[in-house]
């Protein structure tokens, strides 16, 4: 029973990682852009939510609702004016620009908010739990997992059911031909990054409510997110969820054996999956 419990906790943890990773997966899938500042953007969004909660006394969920459009605008502008200029065949320039952005964001936040650990207050919800067939699970982890699934369902709906999603997929396939359809690939990329920042806001909400955060934790979150995306396979959102779950379960199992092995076990699981399937679990047929 203890093992079942461990696995369940791991799956729920995987939901959090999938949430961290979904925005990354979206951007990665559409424009092959590796955003090394993704983790720091999650932390920045968490600070934004915290400011709204503390400054206006808002409920965290309401604060996230307010933060989302701001983050969308940030992502849109970032893509439009900076990242679009370095996208191309060569992967190095975007990698370096987002790396610079990561360091700049981290240190900007350090100046603005100090190195102190923060948390978004949520009251009694934090420790609430429910019993599911003999296993006790926290309400927050359950909510996180549910949100991850919801985010992926919504993103998939956008992707496969709307004109915008059609333009996303077409541009991802072939930006030049997409432009012959009257689509401006740069505009599409900006929309995609904006959308990814909305997902980042949701990830930030749960990051901030579930654990302490400070300006330096972005890269550690980023590495789990990347692992989830790569394990899942380029551009597959359900794959990203599966990847997150694999990392999460490996971590809780590792921790059950020896607390010092938690992080290590996650990384090892990542390496093992990639040795067996270098293109991830659910790679798209093309690429």
């Amino acid at each position: 029973m203890i093992w079942v419990d461990t696995v369940v906790q791991g799956v729920l943890l995987g939901g959090l990682y999938a949430l961290f990773a979904a925005g990354l997966s979206l951007v990665f899938g559409i424009m092959r852009l590796v955003n090394l500042a993704h983790g720091d953007m999650i932390v920045a969004a968490a600070f934004l939510i915290l400011l709204l909660v503390q400054g206006l006394g808002l409920n965290p969920f309401l604060a996230a609702l307010l933060a989302a459009p701001a983050m969308f605008a940030f992502g849109w502008l970032l893509q439009r004016f900076i990242l679009n200029r370095v996208l191309g065949k060569d992967i190095l320039p975007p990698l370096l620009v987002t790396f610079g952005l990561s360091v700049a964001l981290q240190n900007g936040m350090l100046e603005a908010f100090s190195a102190d650990s923060r948390r978004i207050p949520i009251g009694p919800l934090e420790s609430a739990s429910v019993s599911l067939g003999g296993i006790t699970v926290g309400v927050m982890p359950l909510l996180t997992f549910g949100s991850a699934v919801a985010v992926i369902v919504v993103l998939n709906q956008i992707f496969y059911r709307t004109a915008l999603g059609r333009a996303f997929r077409a541009t991802s396939d072939d930006p030049v031909t997409a432009s012959l359809m009257g689509i401006n690939p740069r505009g599409i990329f900006a929309m995609a990054t904006g959308l990814a920042m909305v997902v980042v806001t949701i990830a930030a909400l749960y990051l901030g409510m579930r654990s302490n955060f400070d300006p330096s934790i972005g890269p550690a979150r980023l590495i789990y997110a990347f692992e989830a995306v790569i394990i899942g396979g380029l551009g597959s959102l359900w794959g990203t969820l599966a990847g997150g779950i694999i990392i999460g379960v490996a971590q809780t199992l590792g921790a059950a054996i020896n607390p010092e092995w938690q992080i290590l076990a996650g990384h090892i699981a990542f390496l093992v999956v990639l040795v067996i399937r270098p293109r991830g679990l659910f790679p798209r047929a093309l690429d």
């Binding site: 059609r166 077409a170 012959l180 359809m181």
Partner: protein
Amino acid sequence: MLLQTHGLTASYGQFKALFGIDLAVAKGECLAIIGANGAGKTTLLRSITGVLRNAPGMVMHRGEAIGDLPADRVMQRGIAMVPEGRKLFPSLSVEENLLIGGQVRGGSGPWGLEAIYDLFPILRERRRSPGTALSGGQQQMVAIGRALMSNPDLLLCDEISLGLAPVVIRDIYAALPRIRASGMAVVIVEQDIARALSVADRVVCMMEGRITLEGTPAQLNRAQIHAAYFGEAA
């Protein structure tokens, strides 16, 4: 004139591919561009559609300079392209491939999903398949339909018969009169000289980045075309 180019040049890095092309397409006209491999036909269409950018005045559309517009803006003005190699979107189904053609510009005009399905009935049956799962000829139909969806006033077709069996080519060309009947001008790039002469109002022959011959099919004789095409006396 619907479309005009003035001294249009293009190059890939150091390599010059077009040397001052002067071309004019009238409303509703069908113009065929012929020329050997590497003559610069595709490059000419790319320059017109904005995939390759130019000085503004080099390309005029309805009297406005569009040479420096990006491809998406050119398309929005009503110049649609059926690209060489069809270039369907692999992630999109047949129907989605068609829809995306009319997504940004479409609206008022005879061409919509139903009209395309009437033109190429086989596509209606295959509308849920991924675009790239179709045969070459069917893919070409999708590519043409996709371009028509925007109800352009100028349709550019790059080698629509390339790599297709003769019967299939005949089916595709059978659609041309119906397309022209809706009033749009059509430019076809074609390596098959006989076919080009039979469908076009006017023929332009290119060689090594230059126009070497121009005229109506009635005006041109075989020897002239041969000389313009291969660069030697017949």
